[in-house]
């Protein structure tokens, strides 16, 4: 019940942002509208920790931007220089995050940073297979992910 209410509020914000009208009536309309939508689609197992989320999300966002920028430069260099200096391969990264949302979040973040690509999650959700262009050392690579994105995601989702 609570989670649905939270989703409802969140979507109301999405609505208000979309329409760009911050009047009270628009909130009300957005709320009713989203109530209706949630009623249509709900199957009842959404998570509900939205409120503690926001500051962590913002911090994560900037971390992500930094990673994104850094990696992009690296790839850019690779692309415009004539020789290839890559050591690509597919690495099996064991997962600590267990929730679907967490795994998806992590996988997407890895994919969004250039040079790495989440290929798939094993059906038992134990490992994530990641393709990377720069694998100097398998363990180092895995550590980088576990201490970077995964740690933060775990914090957010806790």
């Amino acid at each position: 019940m609570k989670s649905r209410f939270v989703s409802n509020l969140l979507l109301t914000f999405v609505w208000v942002a979309l329409t760009g009208d911050f009047g009270f009536q628009n909130y009300l309309f957005g709320f009713i509208l989203n109530f209706f939508i949630l009623w249509v689609i709900t199957r009842g197992n959404s998570d509900a920790r939205y409120f503690t989320l926001l500051p962590k999300l913002i911090a994560f966002f900037f971390y992500f931007l930094w990673e994104l920028f850094k990696a992009n430069l690296q790839v850019a260099y690779e692309v415009i220089t004539p020789n290839f200096r890559m050591k690509p391969g597919i690495v099996k990264v064991p997962l600590t995050v267990q929730s679907d949302l967490g795994i998806t979040f992590l996988a997407n973040m890895i994919s969004l940073t250039p040079g790495t690509l989440s290929l798939d999650v094993s059906n038992d959700k134990k490992v994530l297979y990641v393709h990377s262009m720069y694998i100097t050392n398998r363990e180092e690579f895995i550590e980088g992910i576990k201490n970077g994105f995964e740690k933060r995601i775990l914090e957010i989702l806790r």
Binding site: S7, L11, V14, W15, L18, T19, D21, G23, Q25, N26, F29, L33, N34, I37, L38, V40, I41, R43, D100, L101, I103, T104, A107, N108, S118, D120, V121, N123, K125
Partner: protein, 136 residues
């Protein structure tokens, strides 16, 4: 497709897309959009859900056959077109509430007509895609 990533993503995308579709529907009279594109987006939301979660899941979600939306939408459009006849105006003449509504703006028979379009488009698209998926 049994991929966890897509499934999770689509579950979160579904409500967002639906909200977005209504947004597109309602603003159509003022900015690009309208019932048709809105309806397509709503339908695409469900199709995405079906791709990720399987058709049965999506059908359970919907609770009724999407084809039912077609006559409903057509009826809505029909009555919004017919309404002026009852006040002795030409078929499809726009009737408008005197004051604009908040958020939506001016409300008139054209809006109901557009909602009819929206419903029909959802019904049509889902009927076609669901039918194909089932018989594939």
């Amino acid at each position: 497709m049994s991929t966890l990533i897509l499934r999770t993503a689509s579950n979160y995308l579904l409500p967002v897309l639906l909200v977005f579709s209504i947004f597109i529907l309602l603003r159509g009279h003022y900015l690009p959009g309208g019932g048709f594109v809105g309806g397509l987006i709503a339908a695409i939301a469900f199709v995405l859900h079906a791709f990720a979660n399987g058709l049965d899941d999506t059908k359970n979600l919907l609770r009724f056959h999407p084809g039912f939306l077609m006559p409903v939408g057509l009826a809505l459009a029909f009555f919004s077109g017919m309404s002026p006849i009852f006040v002795d105006q030409a078929f499809m003449t726009g009737l408008w509430f005197p004051e604009p509504f908040p958020v939506i703006g001016n409300v008139g028979s054209a809006l109901f007509f557009d909602i009819g379009v929206y419903l029909v488009v959802i019904g049509v698209t889902l009927t076609i895609i669901f039918t194909i998926s089932e018989s594939a």
